[in-house]
Symmetry: C2
């Protein structure tokens, strides 16, 4: 059996990611590279977060009668109105979310945190909140980076967060048909642990895996780092149970495919808590891999690497395609080399230069599967990669990435503390538009930041029709960073829309991408989702202000 | 390049399938087998269709003003109100459809047949019909076997059929991203012909391929005979343009995958003309295969064959899985052997008996793809099939099937003329429920027919999670056959629902399966589709009485 990449960590700290003890601070070498590259005055720990005790939270807007009714539904211990519980549920994990909370602002904390254990409790909470006109924000791992779990309340006077993490059990498994049904509040590592007892994996490892829940995967159409191999969440999920103010939706589960009208599962996937509360999820499961092979190839350009990836996914026998496919552009490769530093990197650069690769674009691959199979798959893919100018550079860069794959979010916390602005954003497009999109979004972000900055990108998911693009933006922080974020985000989103790419490949819509959804599905498409919402949530209590619901401008941060 | 299985035929005759000159009449040997097996009094040509001139059609309910307005939109030559045009569009190709028309009943013919050429013309026709309260029935190939193109009009006084076959062009092709956008009225053979010019195939070959249109594939979530390899229509289709009375929906086309909210493409796929008129379809295309390998294996039981298929699709490297997978149960295999007859079959039976296969369940496979690849794929799959008791019986049964794959519908016309009732129905379920479903549906049909009958089934599509089941029912015709059909259909549908299988794997819902859709998606699911319909078609003119719209009992046949 291969080593586990999945590991449970405590619920994230209120002002950052996960368990800070697990972070790996940047080296002196890396800090001096950053200082030079971004023309920083300082990389000292000059921008610490305020202390939890300094965070301001307004008084709960819920009266005692409603609190008592909520307690009657889910149990007295499972309705929290204390400041700490409310601050922990005050929003997601985007950079502006963290910047606000680190500055002591949790003004949008929910009035109560309610933790149901059963479908009926969820249904009863929705009925109560519809009657009492209280906004309900479904909350799984709380890892949204687009404002998806922000407790907006308008047009209502109060809001509760419905924390689903007590609903964390495997309900059934059909090993013959390779499906399992789990409660929606189960976190990534617990999914893997419970399926492993039966010899299976879900194979879904988004960056947020250690915190995020299955219901969150479903509500946001998440893609994981191994999705090229195992499929995205919206491919892995075949059935849903959804509680709504209008009743229960039970979707899928009759057959692996059907022609029984419109597929409502695909209407609820990506519905971001706006149409209902996902409480049970049926997924396709795969036997756990027993071996992995790693490989990294350096290409003479991002375009050459992308062409290689295209041939791999379009024309290589499907069984050979790696589970993990990542291609860093020249800027990301350069930064990774600089951050790593040392003699091995210097030797690698000389080796590549001798082979004509002056400005490498590095691709990482992981093949995982049955015993004895992965090496042959790697060998056959290697032929394709070499034909596109790829120079093999051992499996080490890929295995290192695999070992550290869940550490990246910790790095953001450190950078923010050092006064460095950092954010990520993503899109996807067809192969024929990929290179132009890569450049136009990068240029837009650089232009919007205005000051010295580093913008890098990688492809993390490939499809026969195209690929994703994932950008990381780093610059000196301007003031509180919020205006800098808005400027950068608008410029990137407008470049994405102008280029005809998707407004989001796997981060979902939330608040931040909502202004651009009309560009993706048209005004009539928005109206269709709104019509479904009126049917399922006539009072409009579910996650107001997200995805399609109009918001008063002053409530949007 | 492999031989073309796709061939254009004229538009189907009004009372049967395709071009009757292409049918292959049953042999004397086959007829005597049928007579014996079904205890028929006669297999003479005793039940001929009436002549076209004898078909009764009521006068068109549209007044001259409306006809003139329709002509102003699409051109005078493209609005037909003559009897023949109306009879040709009076319904689909289910057995009850044919029985009614063969008896001279085209009472439900539309009041006019309108043939638009552009998106704007479709939009203008919808606007006119919404204003004038005229039902609109979108019509592609007219091959529905569930009443999907029946021109029901209630609650309106008149109905037009919107024949989309003039909208038959390739609009754009992106060979780098392997997608093409075509108008929705293009028929199967024309799709293949136009993509072949660029070296590509859609790979979609439903039984109706020679007549059906791309828009019909989309509106019904059709599956084709090669869908195990190329994917179902709802997997191949990545984008849609849909004209609705409320405006135009333009869906998909930004990226191969996204997290931009609910996927409305999957709401419109399978919408059966109830939510809008699909006018453009974007599909994934594949390089045309250059070689085929055929193989047939006989299994000692249907259960053993199904277990082999399950291992093939679950655990064989994806690149090895055949494009076509079909497993006949013991009854279907027996009937095929009897119908073929001859010394080769007798020798084959002896050969199989010597190898312990007394009652064979025969599986056919076709591998197609790049040069030199298919034989290795067949060899590796053969190892899996043998491990489940499969005995190889050459490629001949599979290549014969391939050559004659589009002839089956002609056989029904001949059988009806000989006074033999014949109908097909289908479902799909998970692997763990497959054998029980196979038996319970068969038993229900046999029980409902009551008289000597032959019921056979095959698996035609396999998925990691399960498989389809396709039944053929043959018996002596009772009277006009319509009551016999209803009895059989109700019994089969109730058995399917009771077993938890899907009400339809690829025939869609139409009128015939509509009473069972609630069992599949729940009352609240129906309400969500109805809410989408109110948004897109507020007056309710689009294909009334199909999928979800309630109908007055007396209007349903």
């Amino acid at each position: 059996m291969v080593a586990d990449v999945t590991e449970s960590i405590p619920h994230s700290v209120w002002n950052g990611w996960g368990d800070p003890a697990q972070g790996h601070p940047l080296s002196e070498h890396a800090l001096s590279y950053l200082k030079r590259e971004l023309a920083l005055d300082s990389v000292e720990l000059s921008h610490p977060s305020v202390d939890l005790s300094e965070v301001s939270v307004s008084a709960s807007a819920l009266d005692e009668r409603v609190i008592a009714e909520l307690r009657a539904i889910v149990g007295a211990d499972h309705v929290a109105t204390d400041d700490v519980s409310r601050i922990v549920h005050a929003g997601g994990k985007s950079t502006p979310d963290l910047l606000r909370r680190r500055a002591g602002d949790a003004a949008r904390a929910p009035d109560a945190v309610v933790k149901p254990e059963t479908n009926d409790q969820v249904a009863d909470v929705l009925t109560l909140c519809a009657t009492e006109h209280i906004a309900v924000i479904p909350f799984g791992g709380g890892t949204s980076v687009v404002g998806g779990v922000e407790p907006l309340r308008w047009p209502f006077a109060s809001a509760i967060t419905l924390d689903l993490t007590r609903m964390n059990r495997l309900l059934s498994i059909d090993t013959e048909s390779r499906t399992a049904t789990l409660q929606a509040g189960i976190r990534g590592p617990a999914i893997e642990a419970v399926l492993a007892q039966h010899g299976f994996t879900l194979g879904h490892f988004p960056q947020s895996h250690q915190q995020a829940t299955l219901g969150g995967y479903a509500a946001t159409r998440s893609a994981g780092q191994s999705s090229t191999g195992y499929g995205r969440s919206d491919e892995l999920i075949t059935g849903l149970r959804v509680e709504t103010p209008s009743g229960t939706l039970t979707l899928g589960g009759h057959a692996p495919a059907d022609a029984a009208g419109p597929h409502l599962t695909q209407l609820l996937l990506g519905s971001e808590g706006v149409l209902g509360v996902i409480t049970e999820v049926t997924v396709t499961i795969t036997p756990r891999p027993v071996e992995k092979s790693y490989g990294a190839w350096a290409f003479p350009s991002f375009e050459a690497g992308a062409a290689a990836l295209r041939e791999l996914i379009q024309d290589t026998p499907a069984g050979d395609v790696p589970e993990v496919v990542r291609l860093s552009d020249v800027d990301e490769t350069q930064a990774n080399f600089e951050l790593a530093g040392g003699r091995t990197i210097a030797a690698l650069r000389r080796y590549l230069a001798l082979r004509g690769v002056q400005h490498p674009s590095l691709a990482l691959f992981v093949w995982e599967g049955g015993r004895g199979g992965t090496r042959g798959r790697k060998r056959r893919c290697g032929r394709v990669l070499r034909a596109h100018g790829g120079v093999y550079v051992t499996g080490r860069p890929a295995s290192s990435w695999d070992e550290g794959r869940f550490l990246a979010p910790y790095r953001r916390d450190e950078l923010l503390t050092r006064g460095v602005f950092v954010e990520t954003l993503e899109t996807a497009t067809s192969w024929s538009k990929l290179n132009a999109t890569h450049d136009s979004v990068r240029d837009a972000v650089i232009g919007a930041i205005g000051s010295p900055c580093h913008v890098q990108a990688h492809i993390s998911h490939v499809y026969p029709g195209g690929a994703s693009l994932y950008y990381t933006v780093v610059a000196a922080m301007e003031g509180d960073g919020l205006e800098q974020y808005r400027r950068m985000k608008v410029a990137a989103s407008e470049a994405i829309v102008a280029g005809g790419a998707t407004i989001t490949h796997h981060h979902a819509v939330g608040i931040d991408h909502a202004p651009y959804l009309e560009a993706e599905i048209g005004g009539l498409g928005l109206s269709v989702i709104a019509a479904a919402k009126r049917e399922l949530d006539p009072v409009g209590i579910l996650n107001p202000g997200k995805l399609i619901t109009p918001q008063k401008a002053e409530t949007i941060g």
